[in-house]
Symmetry: C2
Subunit: 205 residues, 2 copies
């Protein structure tokens, strides 16, 4: 998240999935060995953010995301040129991923253990489906902003990590827009401060 | 500033100068000895925020603030019951304070060395007047949000300390609203993380 509260820049598109300036929010992560490894890239940094990312990735058995994060286009799926996500043929998840959408679609099974299942039911039903697939491990809520807000407001988020980047985007998708004046049961638990990013962790006490 | 970017809560008024929930943004400061001393109060905590506050208060020769922070009411000054600020007869500034306003008014000289001078000229003229009064020391830009934004966009801010509180206000005055997608020449210089507040300092390199 930027200092002005945006988790994606303005004018998100297929050519610019994070919106204008949005990649600035992730530049702290790109050099990390832990970011590179799931993409099959060797080397990389180990720094103060590594432990934060390691903890966030540990014990994840499934991922939930909104349709906008999965990307492609709004509305019904294009049957002639189906959008299969931003991540190529071997996505970095390596576990089941559940995509919240209003438009039914068959599952996608890609390389490396990543499956995308498209879920048209309620937030709660999608979470239950992801929890069953996670088989006792945790479910990661990957985003985007709208999916994160909906689960937060529903009181279904148990842990939240804000990676705050000391920059301004000036527009785009605000994470905390219309979610009210409290953290829906979450409380601050720790901060890890680095030059590139401040990691603020919240959890249900 | 709250995690959702507000520096005051909604519905600011004479009875609720910081807006609904706005005092939550300052609760890290209230227990500090350095906060209490300028108000003539003894005792108080010394913690990780003390050094941050000490550095912010050091070498200040004058303060600039917007009319909304000085408070009272919008529009022309009420001559029959003049508003003399929130701070009583012995305000905690103890140096000259310059208030940006569209409505001319004579100066106020209060106890303890605080004077309020009402400035109707440009941002630059007000800053120059404060700099002359500061006599070689620094000028503090106290707020509110609108005054801070105007000086930031004008490129007239040399240092900025964001005291980020891990809470949501859900509405009110956003510090970074319409200021664009960069920090107007400021760069991150350091973070001090505490349970109650994260201090993010920016400066012109």
């Amino acid at each position: 998240m930027s200092l002005d509260g945006f988790v994606a820049g303005p004018h998100q598109s297929v050519d610019n999935p994070l919106g204008i300036g949005g990649t600035r929010l992730h530049q702290w992560a790109f050099p990390l060995a832990l970011w590179r490894a799931p993409q099959g890239l060797e080397g990389g940094e180990i720094n103060e953010s590594s432990a934060v990312m390691a903890a966030a990735l540990a014990n994840i058995g499934a991922t939930l995301m909104g349709r906008n994060m999965f990307g492609g286009h709004p509305g019904p799926w294009d049957a002639t040129a189906p959008w299969n996500g931003w991540w190529g043929s071997n996505p970095p998840f390596h576990h089941p991923v559940f995509v919240l959408t209003h438009h039914a679609r068959g599952s996608l099974e890609l390389q490396g253990g990543t499956t995308f299942t498209f879920v048209t039911g309620s937030l709660e039903a999608a979470l239950e489906q992801a929890q069953r697939a996670a088989n006792g491990k945790d479910v990661a809520l990957a985003g985007g902003a709208s999916a994160a807000r909906q689960y937060l407001v529903a009181g279904l988020v148990d842990e939240m990590e804000i990676n705050l980047v000391p920059t301004l985007l000036g527009g785009g998708e605000r994470l905390f827009e219309g979610v009210g004046d409290d953290l829906h049961g979450l409380e601050w638990v720790r901060t890890v401060a680095t030059p590139r990013v401040t990691h603020l962790k919240f959890a249900r006490p």
